[in-house]
């Protein structure tokens, strides 16, 4: 049953999004309380994360899904499916401040951190828009991945925060130069 539910969820989301992954509750055992999914849904069992690349979009589209209505319909379909099975589920959009979508993506095997601490995803580089569904449904988790970032350091070379990039100076971050140059 868990296999089947996992496949159904992924099948719906894969129609719209470029990358889909799942992390289970166990993956978050060391997550800081401040960003823990339990703050959103106390009895959560799984976190479904999905990403869409913006490599072919103009910079104005960054941060949002290119097909907004299609993406909302797919997310809605997943929530309705899980809730029809009795599992409460909550969609968290990319602007949420109460969870770390990047951390969730890493735990769900979608990508890994780049040298400038942005999420790098195979084929999407640093351009992805992210969202997640936190659910009470037990689903089969994906393995964390590594080796996506090729360590070319081009993102570091163009980062205006160069020597302090690892500390993520928020005043310097956000120029988008790293997104544009990442070859992944």
């Amino acid at each position: 049953m868990i296999d089947q539910n996992t496949n159904t969820v992924k099948s719906i989301l894969n129609n719209i999004f470029d990358s889909v992954g799942i992390a289970d509750k166990e993956s978050f055992k060391n997550a800081p309380d401040k960003y823990h999914p339990k703050n959103i849904l106390e009895g959560f069992e799984s976190v479904i994360v999905y990403a869409q690349g913006n490599k072919n979009s103009s910079e104005r589209d960054m941060g949002s899904f290119s097909d907004l209505w299609g993406s909302l319909a797919a997310q809605n379909e997943v929530v309705k499916f899980l809730e029809s099975l009795g599992y409460k589920s909550v969609i968290i959009s990319g602007t949420s401040r109460s969870v770390s979508l990047v951390k969730m993506c890493i735990l769900a095997g979608i990508g890994e951190l780049s040298p400038v601490n942005s999420l790098v995803i195979k084929g999407l580089g640093l351009t992805a828009s992210l969202a997640t569904i936190i659910t009470e449904a037990p689903l089969i988790p994906d393995e964390e991945i590594s080796g996506v970032c090729i360590k070319c350091m081009k993102c570091m070379d163009v980062c205006p925060a160069t020597d302090i990039a690892y500390q993520r100076n928020p005043d310097k971050c956000g120029c988008g130069k790293c997104r544009n140059i990442c070859p992944v």
Binding site: W69, L72, N76, I91
Partner: protein, 137 residues
Amino acid sequence: MDKKYIQIFEGKENESSCGSTSGGCSCGGGTSTTAVTIDELLKKYLTVLDGITNFNVYKISDQQDNDEFINKLNEVLHKSGEKLIIDKTNLEFVLSQSAPIFAVDGKIISIKNYPDEKQLYDAVMTGKKIPVKKSCC
């Protein structure tokens, strides 16, 4: 020429992802860096669209059911060829991602932003969609 019918679906105050008329974000929205009410905005629109359009503004409410809002929004989504169906359970989330929504003659021409009067005039005349502003938050 038949009058065009413009529908505006507003999210909750301070909730839209961009273009808030009530100062919900710091980007200033599509019209001005000064917060304006929807009535003031309509006056601006009427400076270029008076006589050729009718407006209807839909707002959601915590105090009463939003059946009319939901029905009208589903009508424009359907007419715009979208398969998303709004109900009470997803209304707030959908609006948080898409409001304000502008439709002309039942078809969506703008989301996530209050267009200025020239943008809206052009969209009404040409039927072309107004590009989505870059996400600000």
